[in-house]
């Protein structure tokens, strides 16, 4: 349970780390590490403006998205400890909570009636439809390898990293970048609506709603990152605080790696993104085939 609270507290820090690393690469000082927290607090204190064409769907989306992210976080183990909720097949809860969150972002974007947001929604739906098989096939590979159906048990048993798991990790990293709209797939910093995916969908949100969305996207960054760290970093010591510190350290390393990627790569052409995601799917299915062999 403590790990759950830790995740709630530390998730926005990852965005700070990414931005700080990008700033270092660009030779700037960059925003403070805690900038995401300041943003969220500031947004929560403001009022919300709703467009004249929006309906209750739009108002519902941000709270539902946050709730879905909080539930999804419940089943993700971290730091060598079981998740607060663990049962056979809980990976489906994770996948569909993330799906629900995305669904509400998409219909809220459509609800505004803005053409840019419609475009963002269409891209998000397309890319996430390609990313989901990669995630689920990868988890299926781990499940077959370890013989456990619950996320906590299977990630606990997965610790000696084998070749199959490396493939899954590679695939999950692509999914991680895609789902969190990071750079080879989407550029989170751009404000040119034509090229954006996630940012284009939330153009009309403001105030506490925007704060909820920012916070739930930080949580999503944490959730998918925790999956990768759980597979790639074996928790060996058995001491709770050492494992926890190791986990947090790895998460920050992962965020820094994302920052480095964003600094040295350009965004892919939109036509190439499905190919990258297909490659992620291929890696996951390759891993699954090897395990089933």
């Amino acid at each position: 349970m403590f790990n759950y609270i830790l995740a709630l507290l530390l998730a926005p820090l990852l965005n700070g780390v990414i931005n700080r690393v990008k700033a270092l690469f660009a030779g700037r000082n960059g925003p403070p590490l805690l900038q995401r927290y300041y943003d969220i607090v500031k947004l929560l204190r403001k009022g919300t403006v709703y467009g004249a064409s929006t309906s209750w769907v739009f108002r519902l989306s941000a709270p539902v998205g946050l709730a879905a992210a909080l539930v999804a976080l419940l089943v993700v183990p971290f730091g060598g400890v079981y998740a607060p909720v663990a049962f056979g097949g809980d990976i489906l809860v994770l996948a569909y909570m993330l799906g629900l969150m995305r669904f509400f972002t998409i219909i809220a974007a459509l609800d505004t009636g803005s053409s840019f947001e419609g475009m963002g929604a269409s891209r998000e739906a397309f890319f996430s439809a390609l990313a989901e098989p990669a995630l689920l096939l990868g988890v299926a590979a781990i499940a077959c390898k370890t013989g456990w159906m619950s996320l906590s048990s299977m990630l606990h048993a997965a610790s000696p990293v084998s070749f199959e798991l490396l493939l899954v990790v590679a695939s999950f990293i692509i999914v991680y970048l895609c789902e969190n709209s990071r750079i080879p797939i989407d550029d989170p910093a751009t404000h040119l609506e034509l090229t954006m995916i996630h940012e284009a969908m939330i153009l009309d949100n403001s105030g506490p709603d925007l704060g909820f969305i920012e916070y739930s996207s930080s949580l999503k960054l944490w959730i998918l990152g925790a999956l990768i760290v759980d597979i790639a970093a074996p928790y060996r010591s058995g001491l709770w605080f050492v494992d926890c510190a190791e986990g947090v350290g790895c998460m920050i390393l992962l965020a820094a790696a994302v920052g480095v990627t964003e600094s040295i790569m350009a965004r892919l052409r939109l036509l190439r993104v499905p190919q990258l995601l297909a490659a992620a799917g291929a890696l996951s299915s390759f891993a699954l085939l090897l395990v089933l062999r």
């Binding site: 190919q275 297909a278 490659a279 291929a282 299915s285 390759f286 062999r293």
Partner: protein
């Protein structure tokens, strides 16, 4: 050997010819070092010769020849496939499944040292054939041929050092001559037709 499969999958989804040549060269290097690694405790002069010849020809000579063919023919860098990268990857996974299935059916006995060498070699053979069929340019078809040969070589490794030196070297020489001849042929085709698009070779020159 797992790396061999990863390289096969990479070959199926890349879109630049130069990257493809690099990957084909890497496969050659990998196979050469694999021969040495698998027989590390009983390394004979014969095996060493095979490995070194393999590394030299496949890892260095083929890429050089292919690059020269590109330069001389002035080919565009993009691969133009019949089958797009996404579908190629899906076929790759299917081919891998078939390779694993064949492995489970083959009465191989106990000749295999590394567990996944046979499926990997079948996968490589299928990838080579697929590249020959599904890519338009004569050069990429030539690359498919080399990959195909790599697969046979890998299978040879799997069947331990029982293949006589002459057969091994004969195989290498065959592939070498083939690449050489194809290099010249590609150059000629290019001179004659101004392109090396194999689909349009049958159309009359006007």
């Amino acid at each position: 050997m797992m790396l061999l499969i990863v390289l096969d999958l990479a070959l199926l989804c890349i879109s630049l010819i130069n990257t493809g040549i690099l990957i084909v060269g890497l496969q050659g290097l990998l196979l050469g070092f694999f021969v040495i690694a698998i027989h590390a405790n009983a390394l004979s002069v014969r095996l060493m010769a095979i490995a070194i010849a393999g590394i030299a020809i496949k890892g260095f000579l083929f890429p050089v020849l292919l690059r020269r063919a590109i330069r001389e023919a002035g080919i565009l860098r993009e691969i133009k496939p019949f089958v797009g990268p996404g579908l190629s990857l899906v076929s790759g996974i299917l081919m891998l499944a078939v390779a694993l299935w064949i492995k489970s059916k083959l009465p191989l006995g106990g000749i295999i040292d590394a567990p996944i060498t046979v499926p990997a070699s079948f996968m490589t053979i299928f990838t080579g054939l697929f590249l020959v069929i599904a890519r338009k340019k004569a050069l990429t078809q030539c690359m498919g041929y080399i990959v195909f040969e790599n697969g046979i070589y890998a299978f040879g490794i799997a069947a331990a050092g029982d293949i006589p030196l002459l057969v091994e070297l004969g195989l290498l020489l065959d592939a070498f001559v083939a690449v050489f001849v194809m290099g010249i042929a590609i150059y000629r085709i290019n001179q004659e037709f101004d392109h090396i698009d194999a689909t349009e070779l049958s159309s009359l020159k006007g």
